[in-house]
C-alpha cells in the first residue's frame, strides 16, 4: 500500500474508479507478485541445493546494508511489503537520479512519499546541480502526473498494444534490409547506453540515419569551437574565478543555461562579505534578460549586431595582432562601451571571461574563444571538453530528412521523444511530410507529432524509466525510476533496444548491462555507488588543451561579417514557462510569470518602447510577423530596455495538440522559424488591428510613484560597492525602533527562525516560486483569475526597473511573508487564526480562518493569498498524487501564505529528537525556496544562534528590513543589491 506501486493505468479507458492503488495496479508483475506469495528470490530459498543462492543473497544484503538503504537493489519496483530498509511510514524517501534536457544532464534527488515522487531537489554531489535546480526541473513532477499524458499504444488512433507493436516491428524489421529506408529522429541525447545502442543500430542498418534535433540547441557553440580549435568542443566556464564577465547575447544566468551551475558560480562572486572582490558583469544583448538585469553595465544591441561588437572588442583588445576590418555601425555610446570593456578585460587577464549565447553564429563563438585565449583565460576561467552529445549540424540533417521524406526515400521514420512536428524548422510542412511514410512516434503526450504518426507510443517519464545521462562535462549519472510507468509507457532507450534487435529490452537491463561492461569487476559495488550518489566516478571528460587557430577564425569571421540588414529582426528564445513547448501542459510553469515581463499564460512579441512608438503599437496589439513568405501572429508587449528594431519571441506556445492545460495557450511563432532565421533574422511587422488580453502579475514596474514622481525608499536598497565599503567600515546600517505598545518578542529561548535574502545574488530565475508551489501544494488559478489579481504564489519575484525607460536597470526582489514580529495581520484577525509561534513564525491556522481578508488588507507586503474560489476542485485523481502529504490542501474561503516551510522544520525537529535529542544544526532545515535557489540567495536558520549563517548575514552592513519605518520588525531581512560600475562608464 505504501510502497512503490506498479501502477498500470493504461488499461483504462474513460473514467474508472479504484478503491486502492493496488487494485489499480494491475500489471503482470503485480499479478505475478500476488500469485507468488513470496518476493522474487525468496521462494528460491526453499529449493534444495540453493545454499549458494542463500549465501549470495546474504552477501548482497550485507552490501546493501552498508549503503544508506534507500536504494532499490533490483529493477522491480515493488510494494513496500517487500521492504525498503529503514522505511518509516509517513516519512519520505529520497532517491538520486538525473534528467537530460537538450543533451545535457543534471543530477537530481527525488523525494518520494509512499511511493509517489512528489518533490524534486538538486543533487549536491552533481557538478551541474550542486544541490540546486531550475524551475523546469522543479515542475517535472507535475508532468509525471499529468492526466493528459499519452496513455495508450495506438495505431492511427485505434487502440493497440505493445505486443502488437512489437509484432509489427518484427515484420517490418525483415523488410528494412540495410536500413536505407529507416530514419530515427530523436531529441539530442547524452546517454552512454543509448550511444551504444545507436552504434548497434548503425551497424545493423548501415544506410539508416539517426537524426538529433532540439528546438533549443548549442550547435552553433560547438560549431564555432570546431572552427577555432579544429575539433568539436563545449566550453566550461568558471564564473566564480572571473572578476569581469562579458556576456554577448548570452543569458547564461537565465534561459540559456540548462543547469544551475553557472548561477551557483556567478553568485559566489556576489557576496562581498565573504571577502572576495565583487565581480563586474557587462551584458550586451537585444532582449532584456535576467543576465542583463544582473549586469553592472548593459548595452542594448540587436542580435545581428553582436558579431560586429565582438569583432570591435577583439580589435580593441588587439587579439589578432593585425588590423581587423571592423564594421563601423556602432554609435558613440557603443564605441565608448566597448573601449571601456576592453580596458577592463585587459586589466584582468586570466581572471575575466567573455561568453556568447547559443543564438550567435559559429563565427562569433570562434571569435570569443580567441578573445578568451588572448586574455589568458584558457585553463583559468574557461576550459574545453568534448561534448557529451554527438555533435552535428542538426539543421542540415533535418533538411536532408525533409528531402528524403519528400522524395519517398524514407519507409519508416521512428521518432523517439520530443515533438518534432511542432518544433522542426518551418521550411517544410512536417505533418504533411510525415504522412508520406510510416511514422512510429514515442511521445510523452498526445502532441502534434503523435497526431501525425502511424504508431503512437506513450513515452515513459524520466521519473518512470531507467536511463543514464551525461552532464556537460561528461559526468555520467544513472537515471533511476521513482515509480513504475503510470500508463505503461516505455523509454526511448527501450525502443532503441528493440530497433537494435536486442533480446534484452528492459531499460534496467540495458543500463545495467552497459555499465557492468564498462566496470568489469567490482561492477555491483560501483552500480550501487552510482545509484546512491547519483554520479558515476571517473566519467568526467578530461579538459582538452587546444589552441585556437587565429588566422582561420579571422578569415572566417571577416568573410562572414556582413552589415546587419536594417529594419526589424525577430529573435527566438526558449520560454520560461514551456521552454520549447515540452512543458506546454504544465500549469505550474504557465502560472509562474516570465522573470522580466511578468507575463503569465502567454507569450508576446517583446519590443522596445521606441520601436513600439514608431510602429504605433501598445501592449496587447496583435502583430503579424512575416519572413520568408511565412507569417505568424503574436500580441506585442513593450519591454523597457529592449533593443530597438528587434522583436523577441518565445517558443513553445500555441500548441494545437496538447492537454487541457496548454491547448491554445499563447501564440505559435514556430511557423516563422525556418533554418535561415532559426535564431534570428529580418522580418516584416504589421499591425493587424486586433488586440489580445495579456495578463501580468505586476502592473506597476518601478519604485517611482506615478503622480508625484517620487521614488519609494525602504523597499529595495541598492548602492555601489564603494558605498557598501563605506557603510561596512562604519559598522553598517543603523536601525532605530521607536517604542511599542505591545511587548517585545521574547528571544531568550529556543529556536528563533529567520531568513536573509540576498538581492545581490538573486537573479530572479523563478526556481523558488516553482519549488514553493510543489512543496506547499499551491494551487494554480489560471489566466483569468491572475488577471483579477488572485494568483496564489507564496513567494513571488518583484521586478523593478529604474533609470530611463529606454535603458533601465532592473532588480529582482523575492517577496514572501517576512514574518513580522509586530505582525499587522495578527492584530486584526477577529478569530486569531493567524498568530505567532513561540519560535517567531507567523502561522496560519487554516481551519480557524473565516476569511475576513482583513489581514490581507493590513499586510504592507501583500504576501497573503486568499482562496477566493475552490482552486482544488475537480482535480483528476492522478493529479492528486503530486500533493505533498505534509501540507494541508486549503479549502476556499481561507487565507494562506508562507510559513517558512514549517513542515520541514518539524521533520528535522523530530529527526533531531530521534538522534538523541540533539539540537537542530544550522543549515539542516532548508526551506523549499532556499533549497532550490541556484544563487544561494536565500538563507534560513535560527537567529537566536549568533553563529548561524543567517545571524551572520543579519549582522552584515547590507542587511535591511523592507518598509522598516512601519516597525513591523520582519524576520526576513534583505541584503542590499550592489552595483559595481566601471568608473569610465558612469
Amino acid at each position: 500500500m505504501n510502497g512503490l506501486i506498479p501502477l498500470n493505468l493504461s488499461s483504462l479507458t474513460g473514467r474508472k474508479y479504484w478503491r486502492s492503488l493496488n487494485q489499480l495496479a494491475d500489471s503482470p508483475e503485480f499479478r505475478q507478485w500476488v500469485e507468488r506469495e513470496f518476493p522474487e528470490g525468496a521462494s528460491e530459498l526453499l529449493d534444495n541445493g540453493s545454499r549458494r543462492t542463500l549465501l549470495k543473497l546474504m552477501a548482497a544484503g550485507f552490501g546493501l546494508a552498508g549503503l544508506t538503504a534507500c536504494r532499490r537493489p533490483v529493477e522491480k519496483i515493488l510494494p513496500l511489503s517487500k521492504g525498503v530498509e529503514g522505511y518509516v511510514h509517513g516519512r519520505p524517501l529520497h532517491y538520486a537520479t538525473a534528467v537530460a534536457s537538450c543533451g545535457i544532464g543534471t543530477g537530481l534527488i527525488i523525494e518520494c512519499n509512499d511511493g509517489r515522487p512528489t518533490k524534486v531537489e538538486g543533487n549536491p554531489r552533481h557538478p551541474f546541480s550542486l544541490g540546486a535546480t531550475n524551475a523546469f526541473q522543479q515542475a517535472m513532477v507535475l508532468d509525471l502526473y499529468d492526466p493528459d499524458r499519452a496513455r495508450q499504444v495506438q495505431k492511427k488512433g485505434v487502440k493497440s498494444s505493445w505486443q502488437e507493436f512489437e509484432a509489427w516491428w518484427k515484420e517490418t524489421e525483415a523488410t528494412l534490409g540495410d536500413g536505407s529506408g529507416l530514419r530515427i529522429l530523436s531529441a539530442r541525447t547524452a546517454s552512454p547506453s543509448l550511444d551504444a545502442l545507436k552504434a548497434e543500430i548503425a551497424k545493423k542498418y548501415p544506410q539508416s540515419a539517426w537524426i538529433e534535433f532540439d528546438a533549443v540547441n548549442s550547435d552553433r557553440i560547438v560549431e564555432g569551437l570546431r572552427l577555432a580549435f579544429g575539433q568539436p568542443l563545449v566550453p566550461h566556464y568558471r564564473f566564480d574565478q572571473a572578476d569581469v564577465v562579458v556576456a554577448l547575447d548570452c543569458d547564461f544566468l537565465g534561459i540559456d543555461t540548462l543547469t544551475p551551475q553557472p548561477v551557483k558560480q556567478f553568485a559566489a562572486r556576489r557576496r562581498p562579505q565573504e571577502g572576495r572582490e565583487l565581480n563586474r558583469l557587462y551584458a550586451i544583448e537585444s532582449n532584456f534578460t535576467v543576465t542583463g538585469a544582473m549586469a553592472d553595465h548593459r548595452l542594448r544591441a540587436r542580435a545581428s549586431d553582436i558579431g560586429a561588437i565582438a569583432l570591435a572588442l577583439a580589435r580593441e583588445l588587439n587579439v589578432s595582432g593585425a588590423e581587423l576590418k571592423v564594421l563601423d555601425s556602432g554609435n558613440d555610446r557603443q564605441k565608448k562601451f566597448i573601449a571601456a570593456v576592453a580596458k577592463d578585460l585587459a586589466a584582468r587577464r586570466g581572471r575575466c571571461l567573455v561568453v556568447a549565447g547559443p543564438r550567435q553564429p559559429a563565427e562569433v563563438h570562434a571569435l570569443v574563444a580567441l578573445i578568451n585565449q588572448a586574455l589568458g583565460n584558457n585553463g583559468q576561467t574557461v576550459s574545453y571538453t568534448r561534448p557529451p552529445f554527438t555533435p552535428a549540424d542538426s539543421l542540415a540533417e533535418v533538411g536532408r530528412l525533409a528531402a528524403d521524406l519528400a522524395a519517398g526515400r524514407v519507409r519508416t521514420l521512428v521518432v523517439l521523444g520530443g515533438n518534432p512536428v511542432f518544433t522542426l524548422p518551418a521550411d517544410h510542412n512536417w505533418a504533411e511530410l510525415f504522412r508520406k511514410t510510416t511514422v512510429v512516434a514515442l511521445t510523452a503526450d498526445e502532441n502534434e507529432t503523435w497526431k501525425a504518426a502511424t504508431w503512437q507510443l506513450p513515452e515513459a517519464h524520466p521519473f518512470e524509466s531507467w536511463g543514464d545521462v551525461r552532464a556537460l562535462d561528461g559526468t555520467a549519472s544513472i537515471q533511476q525510476p521513482q515509480i513504475q510507468p503510470l500508463w505503461g509507457g516505455r523509454s526511448a532507450l527501450e525502443i532503441a533496444a528493440l530497433l537494435a534487435g536486442r533480446a534484452q529490452r528492459r531499460g534496467y537491463d540495458i543500463v545495467r548491462g552497459y555499465w557492468t561492461a564498462q566496470w568489469g569487476a567490482d561492477a555491483e559495488k560501483k552500480w550501487q555507488q552510482a545509484l546512491y550518489e547519483g554520479v558515476i566516478e571517473g566519467t568526467r571528460f578530461p579538459a582538452v588543451d587546444a589552441k585556437a587557430d587565429a588566422p582561420r577564425v579571422f578569415a572566417a569571421v571577416q568573410s562572414a561579417l556582413k552589415p546587419a540588414p536594417a529594419g526589424i529582426e525577430t529573435v527566438f528564445y526558449p520560454s520560461w514557462s514551456t521552454f520549447d513547448g515540452r512543458f506546454a501542459n504544465n500549469a505550474w510553469l504557465h502560472e509562474t510569470p516570465d522573470p522580466m515581463t511578468k507575463l503569465v499564460w502567454d507569450n508576446a512579441a517583446l519590443l522596445s518602447p521606441a520601436t513600439a512608438r514608431r510602429l504605433g503599437v501598445k501592449d496587447g496589439d496583435v502583430l503579424e510577423l512575416a519572413a520568408g513568405g511565412r507569417a505568424v501572429r503574436c500580441p506585442a508587449m513593450v519591454l523597457p530596455g529592449h533593443a530597438d528594431d528587434s522583436i523577441s519571441l518565445q517558443l513553445g506556445y500555441g500548441r494545437s495538440a496538447c492537454g487541457r492545460v496548454g491547448r491554445g495557450v499563447g501564440h505559435r511563432i514556430e511557423g516563422l522559424r525556418a533554418a535561415a532565421n532559426f535564431w534570428f533574422g529580418p522580418a516584416e511587422v504589421r499591425r493587424t488591428g486586433s488586440t489580445y488580453a495579456l495578463v501580468t502579475t505586476q502592473e506597476h514596474h518601478t519604485l517611482i510613484e506615478p503622480i508625484t514622481g517620487l521614488k519609494r525608499h525602504n523597499i529595495v536598497e541598492e548602492y555601489t560597492v564603494e558605498e557598501y565599503r563605506r557603510r561596512a567600515a562604519h559598522g553598517g546600517h543603523e536601525s532605530h525602533h521607536p517604542t511599542d505598545l505591545f511587548p517585545e518578542f521574547d528571544y531568550s529561548k529556543g529556536y528563533q527562525w529567520g531568513m536573509a535574502i540576498d538581492l545581490n545574488a538573486c537573479i530572479g530565475c523563478n526556481a523558488c516560486m516553482v519549488a514553493c508551489t510543489a512543496e506547499n501544494n499551491i494551487p494554480v488559478v489560471g489566466k483569468e483569475q491572475v488577471a483579477r489579481g488572485r494568483e496564489m504564489h507564496w513567494i513571488r519575484l518583484d521586478r523593478y526597473f529604474s533609470g530611463e525607460e529606454e535603458d533601465p536597470q532592473a532588480v529582482m526582489q523575492p517577496m514572501a511573508c517576512v514574518h513580522c514580529e509586530k505582525a499587522p495581520c495578527e492584530s486584526v484577525c477577529p478569530v486569531a487564526a493567524t498568530a505567532h509561534s513561540p519560535e517567531g513564525i507567523n502561522e496560519m491556522a487554516y481551519n480557524r480562518c473565516v476569511g475576513t481578508r482583513y489581514c490581507l488588507n493590513n499586510c504592507p507586503y501583500k504576501v497573503r493569498r486568499f482562496n477566493f474560489l475552490n482552486w482544488n476542485k475537480d482535480i483528476p485523481e492522478v493529479r492528486k498524487m503530486v500533493f505533498n502529504p505534509d501540507v494541508t490542501v486549503r479549502m476556499r474561503g481561507v487565507m494562506e501564505k508562507c510559513n517558512y516551510c514549517v513542515q520541514r522544520i518539524e521533520e528535522k525537529r523530530s529527526q533531531a529528537k530521534a538522534e538523541g535529542r540533539r539540537p537542530i544544526r544550522d543549515g539542516e532545515v532548508l526551506t523549499a525556496c532556499q533549497q532550490a535557489c541556484p544563487a544561494d540567495a536565500i538563507v534560513f536558520g535560527n537567529i537566536n544562534d549568533p553563529e548561524s549563517r543567517v545571524s551572520k548575514l543579519k549582522r552584515e552592513a547590507r542587511d535591511y528590513s523592507v518598509l522598516e519605518e512601519l516597525n513591523t520588525k520582519p524576520r526576513t531581512t534583505y541584503l542590499a543589491r550592489l552595483r559595481n560600475p566601471n568608473p569610465e562608464l558612469v
Partner: protein, 463 residues
C-alpha cells in the same frame, strides 16, 4: 388657513402639524393607512422591491456556494463593494436613532412626525448592513458563530479582542438591539390604538399581543415616558460609538489612507449626513404616496436640509483636513495615497464624491432649494450616491496602491457585486413598505402631543 397667513407668529413659527388637524384626524389619518387597502403606488413599489430582495438571496446563495471569487475582490483589494456597502448602510442607519434619541433629548418637537419612519429605516438599514460582515467572509458558516464568544468546540480559544472587526461585531449588534428596542417601545401606544380600532379578530389578536396590554393609564404613561427617555439616553452614545467603531476598522490599520485619527468624527458626521439624505429621500416619497403633507411639513424637510448642509460641510472639511495632514505629515505614502485618490485611476470616483458630497449640499444655503421637494429629493439622491463613493474611495483607493508598487492592482465589480447591492435595496424597500403597510408610520401619540401645544399656541385655526 387664511388666518395663518396673516398671523405674524405663524410666519415665525409655523405649526408642526398643519391643515387644522385635530386628535381624531391624526388618528384617523395615520391608522387608515394601516387599516385600509394600500394605494396602487404601494403595489407598484412592492413589485419592484420584492424581486430585488429575491435577487439578494439568489446572489448570496451563489456567493456562499461558490466563494468570494464571484465578487470582484482581489489582492490587494481584499475589501470592495462588500465593506463599502456595509459602511454605507450602517451610515444610513444613523439618522433614525439620531432623530429619535438625540433630538428627543434636545426636545426638538419637530421630530415627532418623522421619527417613527426614521427609526424603521435605521433598523432596516442595519439589517442590510449586517448582511455584509457575515457574507463578506470566506466561510460565513463559520463566521456566523466564531465571531461571537459562544460556547463551541473552540471554547478554549477566545476571539481576538485586539481586532477592530471584533469591536465591530459588538458595536453593530448592540446598536441593532437598542435601536430595535427603542423603536418598539415607541410603538406600543400606537399599537394599542390600532388594537382598539381593529375590526377583525386576527388584527385584534396580533396588535393586542404587540401592544403588551397597553391601557393608556397615567401610571403606564409615566413608566413609558421614563423608559423612552432612558432608551433615548442609551441610544445617544451608540449613535456616536457605532460609526466611530466602524471607522476603527480602518483607522487602526497601518494602511495609508486608513490609518488616520480623524476617522471617528468624520465617519459619524458622514453617517448623519447620509442618514438624513436617506430620510429625505424616503420621506418625500412617503409624503407624496400617502399625502402626508400636513404631518411631514416643509418645516421638517427644511430642518433636515439644514442638517445635511451642516454635516456636508463637516464632511467637506474632513476631506480637506485629510489632504492637509497628508501633506503636513511629510509621510510619502500618506501624500501619495491622497494624491492618488484625486488624480489616480480612481479619480472619477473621488471627484464624483466631491461633487455629490461637497458641492451638492451647498444648494441648501438657499431657501428656495431647502423648501423645494423635487430639489431636495434630487440633492438627497446625490448625497446618497456621494456617500457611497466616499466609502468606496476610502476602501478601494487606499487598498489598490499601498506600499509595494509590485502589488498594485485595480478593483472591478462583477454582476454579483452589483446584484447583491441592488438586492439590499430590495430588502430594505420590502421591509420599509411592509412597515408602512402594517405599522403606524408616524407616531400617533407623539404627534398628538405636539398638535395640542401648537394649536393652542397658535390661538387660531378652524376650531
Amino acid at each position: 388657513m387664511a388666518d395663518l397667513a396673516i398671523d405674524p407668529r405663524m410666519e415665525l413659527n409655523p405649526p408642526l402639524v398643519q391643515g387644522g388637524m385635530n386628535y381624531a384626524d391624526v388618528t384617523e389619518k395615520i391608522s387608515t393607512i394601516v387599516e385600509g387597502r394600500p394605494p396602487k403606488q404601494w403595489y407598484i413599489a412592492m413589485g419592484i422591491a420584492v424581486p430585488l430582495a429575491l435577487l439578494l438571496f439568489a446572489c448570496l446563495g451563489y456567493l456562499v456556494a461558490t466563494g468570494i471569487g464571484v465578487w470582484g475582490n482581489n489582492s490587494p483589494v481584499g475589501w470592495g463593494w462588500d465593506i463599502t456597502n456595509f459602511v454605507w448602510w450602517i451610515g444610513i442607519g444613523h439618522a433614525g436613532t439620531l432623530i429619535s434619541a438625540i433630538l428627543f433629548l434636545f426636545r426638538q418637537k419637530w421630530r415627532t412626525s418623522i421619527n417613527r419612519a426614521a427609526e424603521a429605516m435605521t433598523l432596516f438599514a442595519v439589517a442590510c448592513a449586517a448582511i455584509y460582515p457575515l457574507f463578506h467572509t470566506g466561510r460565513p458558516w463559520r463566521a456566523a458563530y466564531w465571531l461571537f464568544p459562544l460556547p463551541n468546540e473552540f471554547l478554549h480559544m477566545w476571539q481576538n479582542f485586539r481586532s477592530p472587526l471584533m469591536w465591530d461585531v459588538f458595536a453593530v449588534s448592540t446598536y441593532g438591539t437598542v435601536s430595535a428596542l427603542f423603536w418598539f417601545v415607541g410603538l406600543i401606544p400606537d399599537l394599542a390604538t390600532l388594537r382598539d380600532r381593529a375590526t377583525t379578530p386576527l388584527r385584534k389578536k396580533i396588535y393586542g399581543l404587540l401592544s403588551l396590554g397597553w391601557r393608556g393609564s397615567a401610571t403606564q404613561w409615566r413608566h413609558y415616558e421614563l423608559a423612552y427617555l432612558l432608551l433615548a439616553g442609551l441610544s445617544t452614545p451608540l449613535v456616536l460609538s457605532v460609526h466611530s467603531i466602524v471607522s476603527f476598522d480602518f483607522a487602526t490599520s497601518l494602511l495609508p489612507g486608513w490609518h488616520t485619527t480623524i476617522f471617528p468624527p468624520y465617519f459619524v458626521a458622514g453617517a448623519v449626513f447620509s442618514g438624513f439624505a436617506m430620510v429625505v429621500t424616503l420621506m418625500t416619497l412617503a409624503r407624496w404616496i400617502y399625502g402626508l403633507e400636513n404631518l411631514i411639513t416643509m418645516k421638517h424637510l427644511e430642518n433636515m436640509c439644514k442638517v445635511m448642509l451642516a454635516t456636508g460641510m463637516i464632511v467637506g472639511f474632513a476631506y480637506g483636513t485629510e489632504f492637509f495632514i497628508a501633506w503636513y505629515s511629510a509621510n510619502q505614502y500618506e501624500r501619495f495615497i491622497f494624491l492618488n485618490r484625486a488624480f489616480g485611476p480612481y479619480a472619477w470616483a473621488y471627484w464624483s464624491m466631491i461633487a455629490c458630497n461637497v458641492i451638492a449640499p451647498q444648494f441648501f444655503w438657499f431657501k428656495r432649494f431647502r423648501t423645494s421637494v423635487p430639489a431636495m429629493f434630487i440633492l438627497s439622491i446625490f448625497i446618497n450616491i456621494g456617500m457611497w463613493f466616499e466609502r468606496f474611495v476610502i476602501i478601494a483607493t487606499s487598498l489598490h496602491r499601498d506600499f509595494l508598487p509590485s502589488s498594485w492592482g485595480y478593483f472591478r465589480p462583477t454582476w454579483v457585486d452589483i446584484g447583491t447591492y441592488a438586492g439590499t435595496f430590495g430588502l430594505f424597500l420590502t421591509l420599509f413598505l411592509l412597515f408602512l403597510r402594517f405599522l403606524p408610520s408616524i407616531a400617533i401619540s407623539e404627534v398628538k402631543g405636539v398638535l395640542h401645544q401648537q394649536v393652542s399656541a397658535a390661538h387660531g385655526g378652524s376650531h
